[in-house]
């Protein structure tokens, strides 16, 4: 049990939460939950006009449409999920060794590499995407699933690399030498020794990566050219068409993985080990 946990538990058992804690909790909940309430209400309303606080009539029309075979919502959900999963997997495959190099070793030009990795989070995505669009057209990648997947790596990779660099900065690679010496081959060493040590960080990096890919709009629109339809694209279409009820329903689906992953991730964030500790220090 960490010190913070002990203190929080002690506080709760003594006289409930203190004033400032309550204030912060209420603020946090209203910040995250309140904006979602109108969207949820919209998704089940039939008519809702300006001065009214609640809709004048309710209906499940929007939800029926979302789940009907004629709407594009479910296929878009599938495409969005698949792209986000693939982007996460690729980011992990690239980001793990890259983060290890940055976290463990000192080498010439290290700060330049770090800056390059951070660049996509600083340079406006639209500028990059416009330039890449021409390249992708030449390569035949524009308008394809693969093209969209590759372009999603631009914003997702920095998160994975930076999280893994933080994990490996507090990692002692000698424990791998110890495992090898005890008779573990390279694969066994990774599976039994390295992976358990970096798993909390890897999960958190994956969480970021998945959600960053999940919420891409402009890159998907430019490179996908309207042929790769993801949920944010649909959402934007219905919102600009003024279909608030369908927008609300799709929004509810759209936020689902974020909420689920956050709840799953929160459990692993409390895991007690040096790698997870280093994440808290970032």
């Amino acid at each position: 049990m960490t010190m913070v946990e002990i203190r929080i538990r002690a506080e709760i058992s003594r006289d409930g939460l203190s004033g400032p804690t309550w204030f912060a909790l209420v603020l946090l909940i209203s910040w995250l939950i309140l904006p979602l309430i109108p969207l949820a209400v919209w998704s089940i309303s039939r008519s809702w006009f300006f001065p009214d606080i609640t809709p004048s009539a309710y209906s499940l029309r929007a939800w029926r449409y979302v789940f009907s075979s004629t709407s594009e919502v479910l296929p878009a959900l599938g495409v969005t999920t698949l792209i986000a999963l693939c982007a996460t997997l690729l980011s992990a495959i690239i980001g793990l060794p890259a983060g290890r190099a940055l976290g463990l070793y000192q080498f010439r030009g290290k700060s330049a590499v770090e800056l390059l990795i951070l660049a996509p989070t600083i340079v406006p995505g639209i500028a990059v995407a416009l330039g890449l669009h021409v390249v992708f057209l030449n390569l035949g990648l524009a308008g394809s699933f693969l093209g969209v997947l590759i372009v999603h790596l631009i914003p997702t990779l920095p998160y994975m690399v930076l999280v893994m660099a933080g994990v490996f900065a507090n990692y002692n690679p000698e424990i791998e030498a110890q495992a090898r010496s005890l008779g573990a081959d390279p694969f066994q060493t990774f599976y039994y020794v390295t992976l358990p040590a970096i798993l909390p960080g890897l999960l958190i990096g994956s969480l970021f990566t998945f959600l960053v890919s999940w919420s891409q709009y402009i890159l998907t629109l430019l490179i996908g050219g309207g042929r790769v339809v993801t949920l944010p694209l649909l959402l934007f279409n219905f919102a600009s068409a003024g279909r608030n009820d369908i927008t609300g329903a799709i929004s509810m689906i759209y936020i689902l993985p974020g909420v689920v992953l956050l709840l799953l991730g929160a459990r692993h964030l409390t895991g007690r080990n040096t790698a997870a500790e280093s994440l808290r220090q970032i």
Partner: protein, 346 residues
């Protein structure tokens, strides 16, 4: 039980002009407990890592029972290393840690459980299988690390300063444990340390490494009494180096004409003798006896250090405090240097 031989082992680290290890040749006898002794950063850990397969030598060869093992990866060498920091796997229990190597070798669960409990018993941790490393004390953690390596019955056990993070009492206890484990299991062990007392008390033979080269490989007593050169003598705390000339079994110097033991080298120009072998007081011996002046006295606890002078030469002696107590600073004392305590350096 394995003969380990190192042949002209040399290691250059990338970007360095001086080798970390230079031309080291060493025969570690089967079933022996040998110490690799040297100051920090002298290359002794590098030697160990090359035997374990964690570093590749720049040149030279390593043989186990005559077979070169350079091409084998660390997991197939059967040369298991125990590090200074216990490096237990934090996610596993003590039992799982000890069983790790057997699990990697695909032994059956029953076999592993039995071997683990037997080995934990040997390191006096019987019944501690379920503890997590974080629930163990420093000494217990290092004992689990020892058990984890020994349970594999390796051809050679490599220990890299395994006790240097422990406090003095615990260190003595662990040294005793290591000696008894060595007697029970007969595993060939190579032990790296910078602590000469540890090396002397643990091992049958000591390989002294200074600046990447092997200076002397001999039983501990030989390193004390018959050092190969001045640096070896200095490393073992020798203070007395008297210049002079050898002639016909005698050493001609400022202290007089001293009779040498038969093994002493003939060509040497420097006489050395250990301060604790100097005999002071009423000397009746005619051989190797002379008068000197006591310059100063320093109480060191279990011993008293005396500085003596004869003509232009000063030298040190170590005496039991109660013997040194009546001697007065500035007064003459008679000195006897037993013939067997003298040694000549080249």
């Amino acid at each position: 039980m394995t003969n380990v031989s190192l042949e002209n082992l040399t290691k250059f680290y990338p970007g360095e002009t001086m080798p970390a290890v230079k031309n080291v040749s060493l025969q570690v006898e089967s079933g022996s407990l040998t110490a690799l002794l040297g100051p920090s950063a002298c290359g002794k850990s590098t030697i160990l890592k090359m035997i374990a397969g964690l570093l590749a030598p720049t040149s030279g060869n390593i043989r186990f029972d005559g077979q070169s093992i350079l091409r084998l990866p660390p997991d197939r060498r059967d040369a298991v290393m125990v590090f200074q920091n216990h490096l237990l796997f934090p996610y596993m229990t003590a039992g799982e840690n000890v069983g790790f190597g057997l699990k990697m070798r695909h032994r059956t669960r029953k076999e592993i459980t039995q071997a683990v409990s037997r080995m934990l018993e040997l390191v006096q941790l019987a019944g501690m299988e379920q503890r997590k490393p974080s629930q163990l004390s420093g000494g217990q953690q290092q004992r689990v690390a020892l058990a984890r390596a020994l349970v594999l019955r390796p051809q050679i056990l490599l220990l890299d300063e395994p006790f240097s993070n422990l406090d003095a009492n615990l260190r003595l206890e662990m040294q005793q444990l290591l000696i008894s484990l060595h007697q029970k299991l007969g595993t060939t062990m190579l032990f790296v340390t910078h602590d000469q007392e540890e090396a002397v008390s643990l091992s049958s033979r000591i390989a002294l490494v200074l600046e990447g080269t092997l200076r002397q490989y001999a039983p501990a007593a030989t390193l004390y009494d018959q050092p190969a050169d001045r640096e070896v003598a200095k490393f073992f705390g020798a203070k007395n180096f008297i210049p002079g000339n050898c002639t016909d079994g005698y050493f001609e110097c400022a202290l007089g004409c001293l009779a040498l033991p038969e093994e002493a080298s003939i060509a040497g120009k420097i006489l050395t003798f250990r301060p604790e072998n100097v005999i002071l007081g009423t000397a009746r011996n005619t051989e190797n006896s002379f008068q000197a002046t006591l310059m100063s006295k320093k109480f060191l606890g279990s011993q008293t250090r005396l500085e003596l002078r004869k003509d232009a030469v000063t030298f040190q002696a170590l005496l039991a405090p109660h013997i040194a107590e009546p001697l007065m600073e500035g007064s003459p004392v008679s000195v006897h240097l037993p013939r067997r305590s003298l040694w000549v350096l080249g």
